[in-house]
């Protein structure tokens, strides 16, 4: 091998460098274009203003609220009543006060733990905050008069004439307005997840429930205990397990039914659209344009039209998916048909097979892998689509999600539904790729 001096190497490298530079000129221009475009998008989306407006604390609050529940201690000055309720809900009022609330409507003490104590007497309160001091507030006429410890006012405290709002830690909050006084205590967990608060099953342990379900004494004279336990769980008014389960089923039904229909409509049409099966160019053209049309209209538009005609529900979603995907699957299948090996069809034909037998034994086996894998892939992706078009109004779990998000003061419900959707999508994903591996030799193609 010849030894090249350093200088020689440099001389030889020069043309290479120039040609590399030349070759990368176009990509570099493209890259510059992309960067310019992103700058444009930055201004078009007004990201600077958005960042100023963004309430990241809202997100943090939401996430923590999703795994916690709060108990309200409320004293209403107009009605003069006093109650302790989970999330302030009427049906979740404590009959006997929890141990951290003592006293009666006129004079009571709320122990928020770690030295945070609220004492209420008449229309005045004293909130003891460790490392800060005691906040005194009193409703005098129509004004809330607040007396703070000396020193600067901390940012968790907002004292005005009409409202006092103090939240020294995430889990403790005191609100005092002219109408009422509210103390919130946050605790981790999903309260009332299994049984409604008012049910006598609430708060029982699993082994207790197990022995109850097999024991003879009926809690509810109409039902056996195990039925009673199941129906209380299923009909839990706050978490609506039954309702949510039906919605999940609806979504999966939409995806499967829509895709099956699309596959069965798409397959025969694909034969018509494939140039090697249909010599008539005009019909081919028409069918292809039909594919493009139903695909182009898009699932969004189809579902909006179908909602008008068929109302809310899985039928609407199924039909929207079926229409759109007849186009997509039909196009894919017709491309697959155009790529098949003629020899197998001729071989089958040589044994004296008629037209249908040639299709059945010469063509179908060749496109079956494509058919199956595309079908499964579409079922999987349509589970996601069904959730989305459900949210637009077709029903199913998507609609439940949007509804809970709109009406919800309790993010734990939303979080629960989100987790269920994710579990559902992952399960469909797993099932589809498992089936693909099982049914198609050669594994996870696509």
């Amino acid at each position: 091998m010849a030894v090249i001096s350093d200088q020689g190497a440099a001389v030889m490298a020069e043309p290479v460098r120039i040609s590399v530079k030349k070759a990368s000129a176009v990509p570099m221009l493209l890259l510059a274009g992309v960067v310019l475009y992103l700058f444009y998008a930055w201004t078009a989306f007004d990201i600077t203003a958005l960042l100023a407006r963004a309430q990241l604390s809202k997100g943090a609050l939401l996430i923590s609220d999703a795994v916690a529940y709060k108990t309200h201690v409320t004293k209403n000055f107009r009605r003069g009543d006093f109650e302790v309720a989970i999330e302030g809900e009427r049906h979740a009022t404590f009959k006997t006060l929890p141990d951290w609330v003592t006293g009666d409507a006129d004079k009571f003490t709320v122990d928020l733990g770690e030295g945070y104590v609220v004492r209420v007497e008449g229309k005045s309160l004293a909130f003891e905050v460790p490392d800060y001091g005691t906040i005194h507030a009193e409703l005098v006429g129509k004004k809330i008069v607040t007396t703070l410890p000396d020193g600067p006012v901390p940012d968790w405290l907002n004292a005005r004439d009409v409202k006092l709002d103090a939240r020294p830690t995430f889990s403790r909050r005191v609100q005092f307005t002219r109408a009422k006084l509210e103390i919130h205590k946050f605790q981790y967990g999903w309260e009332n997840f299994w049984f409604p608060f008012t049910s006598e099953l609430h708060g029982r342990s699993f082994s207790e429930l197990l022995s109850l379900s097999t024991s003879g004494d009926r809690l509810n004279p109409d039902q056996a205990n195990w039925q009673y336990i199941l129906s209380s769980f299923w009909g839990n008014p706050e978490w609506q397990h039954g309702h949510v389960a039906v919605a999940l089923f609806e979504t999966i039904l939409m995806a499967v039914l829509g895709t099956v229909t699309a596959a069965f409509c798409g397959l025969p049409l694909a034969f018509v659209a494939a140039s090697n099966f249909n010599p008539n160019g005009t019909i081919r053209f028409v069918v292809r344009r039909v594919f493009d049309f139903v695909r182009g209209i898009d699932m969004l538009i189809w579902s909006l039209i179908f909602i008008r005609a068929f109302g809310l529900g899985p039928l609407t979603g199924s039909l929207a998916i079926a229409f759109t995907d007849t186009g997509s699957l039909g196009k894919l299948f017709s491309e697959a048909l155009e790529n098949i090996d003629r020899k197998q069809v001729e071989g089958v034909g040589a044994t004296g097979a008629n037209r249908w037998q040639r299709y059945r034994f010469g063509v179908i086996p060749q496109i079956l892998p494509v058919f199956t894998s595309q079908f499964l892939y579409y079922v999987e992706s349509n589970t996601r689509s069904a959730t989305v078009i459900g949210a637009l109004g077709a029903g199913g779990i998507g609609l439940v999600l949007v509804e809970t998000m709109r009406t919800s003061r309790d993010w734990e419900n939303t979080f629960y539904i989100i987790s269920l959707i994710i579990v559902m999508v992952f399960m469909m994903d797993g099932a589809s790729s498992w089936l693909r591996r099982k049914l198609i030799a050669g594994g996870e193609s696509r």
Partner: protein, 279 residues
């Protein structure tokens, strides 16, 4: 002897046919019962819906017709919304493609990345792919307020996973000889990727990128419907107010732009990427 074999083959064939027939019948039963179940769960019935199927399109078309020439004036009015939707899709696809490239390089077995990283990155991509965009968009709309950004982030997140998987398949099919050559002359990992991998995968990447852009235009139109801005938001407003001619104009714009992008992307793929390179 031949007769015995013939009998056996025929028996096998008969049994196979029976199984195929049975599974087809089962599938048919599932579909039929599924439809009757779906029809029962639906608030409107199937047959009565069928008669009303064309009512809504007819209604909005007739309202649009009544507008006469003024109907066409609606198009420039909604053009900014359409551009916003296209921007959401483009930004999401670009950002998604960047992340997808990084993820795919880290999850290809032939690129000398730490073997422990490969399954981890693959699982990450699976999760990103499976995570429904709707949920991310709704959450971000809550935090950031209604604007196109939540939709762009949500779509980009999904795109990273979806493209990442396709890109890593492309990476694994490349010719490794250029890489060995670059290694022999002392190129580091980044240089090997830049000069050995990227030129080989760029055509396929572009093809998948264009396909994804097409899909993302649809996705961002849909996310607009839940409050992310763009043409979807206009559409939901128009439908909510019962403004038939505006609805018709928006439907038409969305349809035409989707078809145009579809055609443009397949033209680009055929002419610049090369016919043999698209899947």
């Amino acid at each position: 002897m031949v007769e015995v074999m013939r009998q056996e083959v025929l028996a096998l064939e008969g049994r196979r046919r029976l199984y195929t027939g049975l599974s087809l019948a089962l599938l048919l039963a599932v579909v039929l019962s599924g439809y009757s179940e779906a029809s029962a769960l639906n608030s409107g019935g199937f047959l009565q819906g069928l008669s009303k199927f064309l009512d809504y399109p007819a209604q909005i078309v007739s309202q649009a017709w009544d507008q006469g020439w003024a109907f066409w004036a609606l198009f420039p009015k909604f053009l900014p919304a359409l551009i916003e939707t296209l921007n959401i899709a483009a930004v999401a696809t670009l950002i998604g493609a960047v992340f997808a490239t990084v993820l795919s390089l880290l999850s290809s077995r032939n690129l000398e990345v730490p073997p422990a990283a490969i399954p981890v990155v693959r699982r990450i991509m699976d999760i990103m792919r499976a995570f429904p965009e709707l949920i991310i968009a709704l959450f971000l709309i809550f935090v950031l307020g209604a604007s196109p950004v939540p939709a762009a982030i949500a779509v980009a997140f999904h795109t990273s996973g979806a493209l990442g998987k396709l890109f890593s398949e492309v990476n694994e099919n490349i010719d490794v000889k250029p890489l060995e050559g670059l290694k022999a002359v002392g190129g580091n990992w980044l240089q090997r990727v830049r000069f050995g991998v990227i030129p080989q995968v760029l055509p396929n990447y572009s093809s998948y990128f264009l396909l994804r852009f097409e899909i993302n235009v649809r996705a961002s139109a849909i996310l607009g419907f839940v409050g992310a801005g763009g043409i979807g938001t206009e559409l939901s407003r128009a439908i909510g107010w019962g403004a038939g001619s505006e609805t018709a104009a928006l439907f038409l714009m969305l349809f035409l732009s989707i078809v145009a992008i579809d055609q443009l992307s397949s033209y680009l793929r055929r002419h610049f990427v090369g016919a043999d390179n698209f899947s």
